[in-house]
Amino acid sequence: MPGQRSGSVIATPSAMRAIRHRGRGGQAVALRPSAGIIEPSRAFMSPRLDTAPLDVVPGRRPRAGLRPQWRVIAVCALCFALSASVISAQTIDLEQGKRLFESQCGSCHGPLGNGGKGANLAQPRLRRATDDQALSNIIRRGISGTEMPGSPLTPSQVSSIAAYVKTLGRVAPEGIPGDRGRGETLYAGLDCARCHTVGGRGGIVGPGLDDIGVRRSAAHLREALLSPEASVPGGFLQLRVVTRGGGVLTGIRVNEDAFSIQLRDLSGRLHSFWKDELDLIEPQWRRSPMTSYESRLTAEQTDDLVAYLVALKGDGSE
C-alpha cells in the first residue's frame, strides 16, 4: 500500500489529537508486524518510534516507492499545513471527486463505494466519519490500526473526494438476498467460532467479526467464504516454522522483528521464538487456514450466512 506512511508527513500533533479524541469507544489494534504497533500516521513524527522496514520477512514483496501518480501529488505535501477552514473554502468539484475516488479509493471501497476489502461507504451515516471534518481527516491521514492508509492529496482533492463520498449515502442500499436469522444459526452450527470471535467469544486465529459488516461488503464476504485465499486480509500471514529440535509449527504471525517472531498456532496458543532457535521460517503469503465453504453450503445458505455477517456492525448492534 504505497503512500501508507507518506500521507502523514506533515500532520501536526494537535491535528492528530483531534482525530484520536473524536468519538467514543476503542479498538484492539491490529499489529503491523516488524514495525511494532506504531500508528503509521505518526511514523515520521517521533524519533522514538520504531520505524524498522516492513520487508524483513523472507518472501515478502519489497515495498515499492511512490507510484508515479503519487509522486506528482506528493509535491503538494506542504499544502497540508492549511487549516481545515481553508480547506472547506475550496471549490468543491464533484466530478473530480468521483474520478479521484475511483482511482484512489475504489480498489478497496469498490468503484461505486459500496465496499469490498474496505468499508461500505454507500450508507447515510458513516461510523467513523461522524462529520465533514472527520471525513476529510480520515481521507488525508487514514485510520490508525486499520488497513485504511492516509493519502498525500491536496486540500481541494480531499474535499472533492469527501463531497463525493457524501453523495454515496444517497444510493439505495445493497440488497442482501439471504436471511440473517438463518445465517446466525448456520454460523453457530458450522465451525466458524473455532477461529473467529463475535461478541468476544470464539477462537482467535482468524480476524474478529464483531463489526465485519462495517468493514467488508457483502460481495467481499461472499468471496471470502467461497475462496478464502483470494481475500486474505492485508498483514495476515500464515507461517510454518521448524525449530532447532525439529519441531514443526504452523501459525499466524502476531509480531516480528529482526531477532524474534511471535505466532499463534491454529489452536490459538501463542508462541514466541528467537529466530536463532529456528531452522526455518517459511512465510505463506496469501495462504489461509480457512478452507472454502463452496462445497459445504448451498447458494441459499451462503446468502444467509453473508446476510448475518453483513448485519454485524460492532458495538453489539446488528
Binding site: 511494532g36 473455532r194 489452536s267 514466541s272
Partner: protein, 539 residues
Amino acid sequence: MRNTAATRLLRLVLVAGLATLSVPALGVAQVPYERILDAASEPGNWLTYSGTYGAQRYSTLDQIDRDNVGRLQPAWIYQARSLQKFEVSPLVVDGVMYITEAPSDATALDLRTGRPIWSYRRSLPQGIVTCCGQVNRGVALLDDQVFIGTVDAHLVALDARTGRVRWDVEVADYTLGYSVTVAPLALKDKIIVGISGGEYGIRGFLDAYDPTTGERLWRFWTVPGPGEPGHDTWSGDSWERGGAPTWVTGAYDPELDLLYWGTGNPGPDFIGDVREGDNLYSESLIALDPETGALRWHFQFLPHDIHDYDSTQVPVLLDAELDGDPRKLVVFPNRNGFYYVLDRVTGEFLVGRPFAKQTWALGLDDDGRPIENPETIPSIDGAVVYPDDDGAANWFSPTYSPQTNLIYQNVREKGGVYYLADATYEPGKIYMGASRRVVAGEDPKGFLRALNPLTGDLVWEIAVHAPPWAGLMSTAGGLVFSGTMEGYFFAADARTGDVLWRFQTGGAVYANPITYLSEGRQFVAIAAGNSLVTFALPE
C-alpha cells in the same frame, strides 16, 4: 420449499453435531479467582495490583539477592507512546505482561522479548478533566479477561488473548469530572472499581461489576445520601459534591471476606465552611462486604479535612502479636504524614504516629482523631502547612517484608503555602478553593524509610533527593526496590538501607515495581519516564 427447508435443517443438525465434537474448549480461563487467591504460591507471576490480596507487594522470589543484585542489567525496554506520566503496575501471567499506557490504552507484551502481542487503543471524547494527568495505573485480570478503567469513566473488559472488547460500560459521567485511573481489583465474581474526580465536586463511590456482563452489582456511596448513616456529617446540600473519591486499589482479606479501600478528600478541597461536619466517609479506610457492598466498619483518619490529604493509599494487611495478643492488622502510611495501625476485623484504632514532617496536627487523641493546628488552615494571607497536598505519601505503594518484619514507605517532605480562594461549583469545573505556593527557601526532601510495622518507629532511611513518586517492592532476596524523580531505579538491602545497585533509566519513576519469572529467571520491572524497563541477572 418445505423439502428444502427440511433438508437444510437436517444438514444443519449434522454439521452442528460434528462441530461440537471438533471445536476445542473456547475461552479457556487463564486466571481463575483461585489463582489470585493463592498468588503467593506462584511468585513467578504477578496476578493482581499489589501482588497478593494482602497488598504487601512482597515477593518470595530470591534468585536476585543482596550478593548478586549488583550485576542486575536491563533485559528489554518497552516504549510507551504517551508523554503522560507512566504510572502502571504491570501484571504478569503465563508468559505475558499486561500494562496500561496513558491515557486509557492497554497492551499485552511477550514476556520473552518485550514485543507487543496486542494493543487496545481507546478513542476518547473531548473535554475530559483530570486533576493530575490523564493517567492509568494498571489492569485487573480475571479468567480470560483484562479489565481497564478509562479517563472518560468507563470500565472495559477485553479478551485477554486479543485485546478485543468484550464489553464497555459507563461508570460515571466524565463531563461532571468523573474519571477512572485506578487499577481495578478482581475478586471471585466481581470487578471492583474506584473513581477519581475529588477536585471537581463529584460524589464519590466504590463500584462492583459482573465480570461476564459488565452489569453493576453494587455501588457504595462514600458520601451518604439522605436517610443514610453519616449523612448528617454534611451541612446543607454539600454532600451532593462531597468528593471522597476512591482512586487507589485496595486490599482484600478472603478469610474475613472484607474489602479494604481508602477514600479521598472532601470537596471543595480547601474550604471547610461550606461543608460543616466530619464529612463521612471522606479521608477514611472503609471495610465493605464484597458480596453486597455493605459497610462493615470505617475509620476516619481525618474528619473535616481542609488540606486535600486524600487517604487513598494502599492498605497493607499483616498479622502480628500486639501486646501479647495475635492480631489481624491493617497498616496505612497516610498521605497526611501519620502511620496508622488498625485492627482489620473491627477497625479499632491501635497506633498512629508521624513518619514524616507534618504541622497540620498537634497530635492524635486516644481514638486516633487528630487535634488540628489552626495556624495551618488555608487563609487569605497564606498559611504554611507540612506536608503540602501532594502528601507525605500518596498513591505509590508501600511494601511489607515478612523477612525483615519492616514496612517501607517512600516519603515526601515538602510544605506548601495555601491562599484561600472562592470555590463555586460548576459541573465539570475545578472545585478546590485555594491556591498553593512553595515555601520560600525550602529545598524539598525525599526519603525511603523503613519503619517498625507495629509502632511506626523509624529503623533506617535513605535520602533520595527530590520527594519521590515511586512505589516500593520487597523480595525474599533481602531487597527493597525503589525509584527516584531523577530517573534512578535502585535496590537497597532491606535490613540496613545500604544501596546495593542502581540504574539510570533516563526518566522519573512514577510507578510501582514488580518481579516475576520468565523461563525460570527472575526479572524486575519498573515504568520510568515513558519506558517500561525489565532487569535480570546476566545469563
